[in-house]
Symmetry: C2
């Protein structure tokens, strides 16, 4: 421990008490909408969001009544058939696009694949897909897979300047809005405009931004986006992903996994595939009703949330965390998350040679962050349920861990299967 902080826990409590997100919602503090275990400071909502209280009763009703009692008739009577569109409309509101432009279903990886193939087909004369090499790996793996299928080339750009990689051979620039490791955020509107100037499309991966950072895709004239729903959207482990397709592209969009649910008239059972109008052509197989229903209920936590208040709280939480870590632990950690608000998502990442042990020692104390190889401790601040008091408590434990060298416990030399 170096500089004792001029701040106190009371300062953190005062910040919470004055936080419009906590105090001005019509339904009270949104943290009360989540079921979090006592004694846990949960700073891993950027990996798996906490459980909204609305999920369990809704899912029990869908299973017991809609499936158990309604059986097959629930495709009509409970309107399961339109569940992807209904959930898509809720997500659309969080990413700034018309309600009819979002498809929900499949995993993030599968939707990245579909949109990358579709985007490349929209620029048939161009043979290059630009990807950022330090992005979440699945984005790069999918790009390489698509490139092999379509005879394209993957060009790895400089993460600090992806626009420099654009030229007239680039069909698609595939970027992650907020980096999973560092928490750094790209200038979505500026990069989209630059790519359009170069004649390329942009596919934004919103996994680490939507739900914690305001996203205005329509305002940026964005082309395509994909995101997961189990992080800041709290849809549950492995919940379905979503894809946005700009209305101006939907008519000519051709995704490769042509299944019956993306057909214009699925129940006509025609031999040849005719894509549905609109974003439903992104669909392939039967929608995952139980998982979509959990997500549907989970999204209700956003009903009353002002995106500006959400962002203000997120920045206040990450500001406080950075300030406390530096004030109380000096240069023990390198803060690799940008200081500038415009370049920061909703997480803070600390570099340390023993980051794995640090994370495990904190977890043993009830402060849950996670580790990303080789040396990063990540702390996500889901503004709906993480408070300034949580930030204070987390840093208090971190100071104790480092002072007591708890992170050097030999038990942490054996790593968990999932890190």
């Amino acid at each position: 421990m170096t500089d004792p902080s001029p701040l106190s826990r009371d300062t953190a409590l005062a910040l919470d008490a004055a936080d419009p997100l906590r105090t001005e919602g019509r339904h009270g503090d949104p943290a009360d909408l989540f079921d979090l275990p006592d004694g846990v400071v949960y700073l891993d909502g950027n990996s798996l969001g906490a459980l909204p209280r609305a999920v369990a009763p809704h899912l029990a009703r869908v299973v017991g009544d809609e499936w158990g009692r309604g059986l097959i008739s629930s495709w009509n009577d409970a309107d399961w058939i339109n569940l992807p569109a209904r959930v898509g409309a809720k997500i659309a509101a969080l990413i700034g696009v018309p309600s009819s432009d979002v498809h929900v279903g499949d995993s993030t990886t599968v939707l990245l694949f579909k949109t990358m193939v579709a985007a490349s087909r929209l620029r048939p004369g161009r043979r290059t897909v630009v990807v950022e090499p330090t992005t979440f790996p699945t984005d790069g793996y999918v790009a390489a897979g698509v490139a092999e299928l379509l005879g394209l080339e993957v060009r790895w750009c400089d993460p600090a300047d992806p626009v420099a990689a654009l030229d007239d051979d680039v069909a698609l620039l595939a970027l992650t809005h907020v980096d999973f490791r560092s928490g750094a955020m790209y200038d979505l509107p500026g990069i989209t405009a630059a790519a359009h100037d170069a004649g390329a499309l942009v596919q934004w991966d919103l996994c680490h931004s939507a739900g914690a950072v305001p996203v205005d895709l329509a305002g940026a004239d964005a082309d395509l986006a994909v995101g997961c729903t189990y992080k800041y959207l709290n849809g549950g482990p492995g919940s379905p992903a979503y894809a946005y397709v700009a209305e101006r592209l939907q008519g000519e969009l051709r995704q490769p996994i042509t299944g019956w649910m993306g057909h214009a008239t699925p129940f006509e059972m025609q031999r040849d595939h005719v894509p549905a109008d609109g974003v439903r052509r992104m669909a392939s197989g039967t929608p995952p009703v139980l998982a979509l229903s959990a997500l549907d209920a989970a999204l209700s936590v956003f009903d009353d949330v002002d995106p500006a208040a959400l962002r203000a709280t997120s920045l206040s939480l990450t500001d406080l965390f950075i300030r406390l870590v530096e004030a109380r632990l000096g240069d023990t950690f390198e803060v690799i998350t940008p200081r500038e608000h415009a370049r920061r998502g909703s997480q803070v990442s600390l570099r340390h040679p023993e980051a794995y042990g640090v994370v495990q020692a904190l977890i043993a104390r009830g402060v849950v962050g996670d580790f990303r190889t080789p040396d990063v401790a990540r702390f996500g601040f889901a503004p709906l349920y993480v408070t300034h008091a949580d930030v204070w408590d987390a840093v208090e434990h971190l100071v104790t861990v480092m002072t007591g060298e708890e992170h050097l416990d030999p038990a942490y030399r054996v790593r968990n299967l999932v890190t």
Copy 2:
């Protein structure tokens, strides 16, 4: 009504009382493991299986405890990361393959896509995929999509003789084991052997067979198979699909949707994709934990089931249904399902010009089958929970519907969204 049947409801009850599937299981009658509404004869388990009683409490525990209390740690502590493999092992037992050869995840359509691309890549000198034109449409749509991506040709075979379409240009023969419309079953071992003789691989779609018909893929030296889990496997609406890959093919198999969960070392976060050993290379994105958990619990209904007894009951039910329909309704309906046991799945399909009205009128009476365009009424006999008494009651209602011309009700001229 033509010939009054020599059979009575007491005959049906006697068949149930003597049914080894109902009486000889260690856990009693498997029908008691399902939660079916009173007064309903459910003959649509070939579209959406009934709700196993084990699902709701298990799912509530996964949501409340594993997600809500365990949060991110459940990937390790509840072993979510291996859930696809654990559920795959349960399905493997139902399709006659080693427990390590089945991957679970994605929709049926997405897995058909992955396996078709992978299979075509295993036969690089061959440029044709053979598909059966009256199959469930998504199989043909996917084949056409794959053909376009890889520069292959789709060859539509004669449904009565798919083997005749094989030649030395055929990379893959893609067939559905039991036809969704007619309930006709292919000779899986015979066709597999014939295709191998022609140097082709075979991909079997098991959607309408596994769980009601014994499937012995290893015994047939099968290559690849895909199936859904929401029909006879009772996993719930839109539950995840599964894919089987013969062990001898796994090492060279290359599926196109290369995501992090199919990587050899997902948490190393490497830039380039290295496929996992074994069938896990079929994985792409994060596994759908809630849906997989529902399926995991649902599969417990098979724990004590003898496949031979299951098949015997299935055939006894469909035999009785055909016999009663013909005895009591003469030639009102054309039975399009094969009479030969070796060529019949677990459903009976009746052709009638007013089939839609017939199905709707039966549903109004609590007998749930479904309609398939243009003129087929389908009745599925899930042997675990459909009894001979149900068969009797269904035909009794069918006779009443036809006698009273209930199927001509003008209300049935307007069709439901989902038929």
